[in-house]
Amino acid sequence: MKTRHLLLLALMAASGLLTGCVNVQPWERGNLADPTMSASNPLGGMMSEHMWFSREAASGGQGVGGGGCGCN
């Protein structure tokens, strides 16, 4: 019975200590705040917008001109 209790305690301790989760503290977010980490950085945003409006035959709403022919 004692072994069982010890095992239970060890399992509880392990569940608390052996997690792979890490909290990124507010003062450690310098890399995440870098403009290159943004989903809408100028170059990447323009390219993904071009692909999107070409594929969907739709444009506008994000300041991008042109039609949906995929040729521009």
Partner: protein, 169 residues
């Protein structure tokens, strides 16, 4: 037999849970209003820590990558110029990983108040700020009089002014 086993089990689970909760709270507890602010001279800060004994102090945590921090600097500079003679000390503590980033920031956001650097993150880990920027206004006894989470432009500026004036009276 069965009841005794159940009681022991409940006791064990309760003890383990209390231990976990205690450990969590001990690690995660941020500084509250009324708490004594940690001794800046014992926090491994880079730069010259001024004598703040008996002074009203605004301690601000900032980084170059934090946009509201950029907005807060001109306001802090204005407050410093207005209230330094009356006993206000402003200490901005930088949390950039690279010192060069801080230097660039200070070139574009000049300040005459005290700038220190918590490169080891020792102090910030102690006070556990929830967001960037965060600032603590300390009374003349070195206790936290007010805590500011973030910088919200004129709203924060107004709060700073009211609180500083009340403490400097």
């Amino acid at each position: 037999m069965n009841t005794s086993y159940n009681k022991t089990k409940i006791k064990l689970i309760a003890t383990a849970s209390a231990l976990f909760l205690g450990a969590f709270l001990a690690v995660a507890a941020p500084l509250k209003v009324g708490d004594a602010f940690p001794d800046l001279t014992q926090s491994g800060l880079e730069g010259t820590v001024p004598d703040i004994h008996g002074r009203v102090v605004l301690v601000d945590f900032f980084a170059s990558w934090c946009h509201p921090c950029q907005e807060s600097f001109p306001v802090m500079q204005e407050l410093y110029q207005k209230y330094a003679d009356k006993g206000l000390v402003i200490i901005a503590i930088n949390l950039d990983k690279n010192k060069a980033d801080m230097d660039d920031f200070l070139k574009s956001h000049p300040a005459t108040f005290v700038i220190l650097r918590d490169a080891s993150n020792k102090l910030v880990s102690q006070v556990k700020i929830p967001t960037m920027p965060s600032s603590f206004l300390l009374d003349r006894d070195g206790k936290v009089h007010a805590f500011h989470r973030g910088f919200k432009g004129d709203e924060t500026r107004k709060q700073y002014t009211e609180e500083i004036e009340a403490l400097l009276k």
